[in-house]
């Protein structure tokens, strides 16, 4: 081992990650070489300092107290007003409602010890569970994912079956035992039998999610660490545990009082000003025996299903008489030749026995025209014995006929198949940029657009909720952004400018793209205004603001008044909706006196101050006035008050970051949303 190899290995050596042979070589070199020894000592000394610092902070757990303080600050009454709640987006930092909703959740959590009920006894109850059926409903998925589990006498999972109706691969059915996993890609007519290290952690994770006792143990640990707060309520035949963490995530666990077994778990996320149900899981059929046939799929397969058996199939490329470097290069050459030949089955067999359909999906849309070069192989011995990276050049033909050169650098190594340690397999690094910005069949049309035109086209597509089209301008458009941007209205799209002129210095230095100023109106936000005329002046005044789901956002107490006005009769004749409209009309004119006829003085005063401050800072305050559409009023007998439905438009004014340094030569949205 020379000095460079030794230094490459020093961290892995200190971490105990080297195999015995390399470790001995490394130690031998260190004994002989003073320079490397000094380097090793310097690294060890730094590691010791770091370990000491980590140990000093090991017990720190301040997420919950910090978030509680943050929420308290946010919900301090003097910082709130009816309009500061409603205007949360206009003030540029939408914290109010979300924070207060979370604060409400925390406030509800009373100091009732969960030990009084004893979650441990629930965990204990699971010691006798051998069979279990689980259904989960993630997001708005209608058909549940289903799991069947069989455990041994010690409670360890012996066998499992999963039915996953909605996956990237279509409908999937999986069975698992520690010996092997079977995956039936029902939509793709494929079947895979495998035992790889890759699938084990995924299975373990699925199993843990499906076993309520493990989930409860996790909650108890989090509670001890101060990461979660637990509240217990009684509801008929059930105990309900509400677990809330500092990030506003809430879980509601229902336990059957008779059996101490969990019947359902619901996960909520506090989003904006309301709680959104993210996932629901139902547990049933406790100890109802499951036939062993449920955990075997092979006998049930139709004839047209193609089977890949990684347990019996010999995978990889044999070493033969080749040196390691030659074997690494040959393996990579054969893999890419298989892609040239569109022989995805062969490609899969050199990639750890991966399914043919997987490679077809990954590479089917590209044509690999030819291999330009392979190698030379570069040893990667610092992380795995006999591992290599093999830089390659390939000629690719895009769907539009455009030719390009891809330069992947796959990882390759022998020994992944324990039964055939002399065979080499690729383990990663084969991406040919197929997930990057693609050249579209009608690419020219898009490539001809300017940054401004692209920004407009992107917003227009969002406005129509045409996500295929919007995706052409932003390949990583996720569900959260879709929810945020869907149905927007464009107010204006300005002229683009470069990073040098970017206000606020938020662009990275030398940003290669441009910025397009825009103003958009997002989908309206619904809220309700509570009004009552049970007062001496007998006119409708605002007594509270509620969110779209009638959750209280702000209670407005009239400590003084409302006074009987000089022209009180005219106001007493207004209906609940007309009174609310009167308030917002006055707001539009910034007529504070008129507003105070509908809203308590202190609240109006607060808005007035906010507007004065904004005006002082040079803001056009008229742009801050909310555009509110007042709808119908509904009587609430429980509250003896009217609720007037309102919709407020939110606008966003910012700069869209776009760049076009991609193979397709199209402007792509890169940020600023």
């Amino acid at each position: 081992m020379n000095c460079a190899e030794c230094r490459d290995n020093l961290v892995a050596c200190a971490e105990g990650l080297l195999d015995r042979e390399t470790l001995l070589e490394c130690q031998a070199h260190l004994e002989a070489c003073a320079g490397c020894r000094a380097e090793c000592q310097a690294i060890t000394a730094l590691q010791q300092r770091l370990v000491a610092r980590g140990q000093a902070a090991a017990e720190v757990a301040m997420v919950a107290p910090v978030m509680r303080r943050v929420l308290q600050k946010q919900s301090e009454p003097e910082g709130e007003s009816i309009m500061s709640r409603i205007l949360k987006h206009r003030w540029g930092f939408g914290l109010g409602a979300a924070a207060s909703a979370a604060a409400v959740v925390i406030a509800i959590i009373i100091a009732m010890s969960p030990r009084a009920f004893g979650l441990e006894q629930v965990i204990e109850a699971y010691n006798h569970i051998r069979f279990l059926h689980v259904k989960t409903y993630p997001g708005d998925q209608e058909t549940p994912n289903e799991f069947w589990i069989k455990a041994d006498e010690q409670g360890r999972v012996e066998k499992a079956r999963y039915y996953l109706p909605v996956t990237e691969d279509g409908v999937k059915l999986i069975t698992w035992t520690p010996e092997k996993a079977e995956v039936w890609f029902q939509s793709k007519h494929g079947f895979l039998i495998l035992q790889t290290k890759r699938i084990a952690p995924q299975m373990q994770s699925l199993l843990e999610q499906s076993q309520p006792q493990l989930y409860l143990k996790g909650l108890l640990e989090q509670q001890k660490a101060g990461k979660v707060e637990l509240q217990i309520q009684e509801q008929g035949d059930s105990q309900v545990i509400v677990a809330t963490n500092s990030s506003g995530q809430k879980q509601v666990i229902t336990i059957d009082k008779k059996t101490d077994l969990i019947t359902s778990v619901k996960w909520y996320l506090v989003q904006g000003d309301h709680e959104v149900l993210r996932t629901r899981t139902e547990f049933s059929d406790y100890n109802v025996p499951i036939d062993d046939k449920m955990f075997e799929l092979q006998d049930q397969l139709p004839e047209d299903v193609s089977v890949a058996d990684q347990l019996t199939q010999v995978i990889g490329v044999p070493q033969g008489n080749m040196t390691d470097e030659q074997a690494a290069e040959e393996t990579v050459r054969q893999f890419f030749q298989a892609l040239v030949d569109k022989d995805y089955k062969k490609a899969g067999s050199i990639y750890g026995g991966e399914l043919e359909s997987y490679f077809k999906k990954q590479f089917g849309s590209l044509t690999v025209a030819r291999i330009i070069s392979v190698g030379p192989a570069e040893a990667q011995t610092n992380w795995v014995k006999r591992g290599f990276r093999v830089p390659c050049k390939l000629e690719i033909i895009q769907p539009d006929g455009h030719k390009s050169v891809a330069e992947p650098s796959p990882y390759v190594r022998p020994g992944d198949d324990e039964a055939h340690p002399d065979r080499w397999n690729i383990t990663g690094g084969v991406s040919l940029g197929q997930n990057a910005v693609k050249v579209l069949p009608d690419n020219e049309k898009y490539a001809a657009l300017t940054a401004e035109q692209t920004a407009r086209a992107f917003f227009e597509a969002c406005s129509r909720k045409d996500w295929d089209e919007a995706g052409k301008f932003m390949p990583y458009l996720n569900e959260r952004l879709k929810e945020y941007l869907g149905g927007l209205k464009i107010v204006s799209v300005g002229e683009s400018f470069t990073a040098e002129k970017y206000p606020g210095g938020m662009a990275p230095k030398g940003y290669p793209g441009r910025f397009v100023p825009y103003e958009i109106q997002l989908s309206p936000q619904e809220f309700n205004v509570r009004v009552s005329n049970a007062n001496p002046a007998k006119r409708y005044v605002i007594t509270g603001v509620f969110d779209g789901k009638l959750k209280l956002q702000q209670d407005l107490q009239w400590t003084n008044g409302p006074d009987v006005l000089a022209d009180n009769d005219a106001y007493a004749k207004l209906s609940p909706a007309q009174a609310v409209k009167g308030y917002f009309d006055a707001f539009a004119k910034l007529d504070w006196n008129e507003m105070a006829k509908f809203d308590p003085d202190y609240d109006v005063e607060h808005d007035k101050k906010q507007f004065e401050m904004a005006a002082k800072s040079g803001t056009d305050v008229h742009k801050l006035v909310p555009v509110v559409e007042v709808g119908e009023a509904t009587w609430s007998p429980e509250q003896s008050a009217w609720f007037v439905k309102c919709r407020m438009s939110q606008t966003k004014k910012w700069n869209l970051a776009l760049r076009k340094d991609n193979v397709a030569g199209r402007w792509q949205v890169d940020g600023g949303i």
């Binding site: 590691q47 301040m62 303080r69 924070a99 995530q249 992380w383 990663g428 945020y484 990275p508």
Partner: protein, 184 residues
């Protein structure tokens, strides 16, 4: 998948304050260690750390470079610690006591606060160091958490060590500690 500091900051600004909890989770330990090195008392360090996070949250819209969240947070924490010293001096009506505390802090076992050097690392390197040493994960656990090959973790650590040593050598070599601490 863990997001970058910049993404978390932007989520908070976009109306998802709950994501701030994830930033607290990420930096609570190094921030505490840094402050504890100063004030010497873990209770005071924790109080200062909490106060720093709260102030950071309330000023998040003033943060110009979200990718520099951690350095910015250390700046806030420095001011909080200084206020804490002053308040102690004020309470004790004894200026000397506060000065002694500051001197003691500067003469702690740590020749130069590692956390400041960590703040100067590129984010990808910083995450690996924080997870390995402050969250005390093994390299394999770091690899799983960050969804990267084990080899990339060790390589990143190796590079991070080199950068940290460079940074520490430059700062400790320049003997800055007492003056720097007092000038805060």
């Amino acid at each position: 998948m863990d997001l970058t500091d910049k993404e978390y900051v932007e989520h908070c600004r976009d109306g998802h304050p709950e994501d701030f909890g994830l930033l607290v989770e990420r930096y609570q330990k190094p921030l505490f260690a840094w402050l504890a090195g100063w004030v010497g008392d873990s209770g005071q360090a924790e109080e200062a750390a909490q106060e720093s996070f709260v102030r950071a949250f309330l000023s998040l819209n003033k943060l110009r470079k979200p990718e520099s969240f951690y350095s910015w947070l250390l700046g806030i924490a420095g001011r909080v610690a200084k206020e804490q010293f002053r308040a102690t001096a004020h309470r004790q009506r004894d200026r000397e006591a506060a000065e002694t505390m500051m001197t003691n802090a500067a003469e702690s076992d740590e020749p130069y606060p590692l956390e400041e050097a960590i703040a100067a690392l590129p984010e990808s390197h910083r995450q690996v160091i924080l997870l390995r040493y402050y969250e005390r994960l093994s390299c394999q656990e770091v690899a799983t958490r960050l969804d990267m090959p084990l080899g990339t973790v060790t390589k990143t650590l190796s590079r991070a060590y080199a950068l940290l040593r460079q940074e520490l050598a430059a700062r400790e070599g320049a003997q800055p500690t007492v003056n720097q601490t007092q000038s805060l």
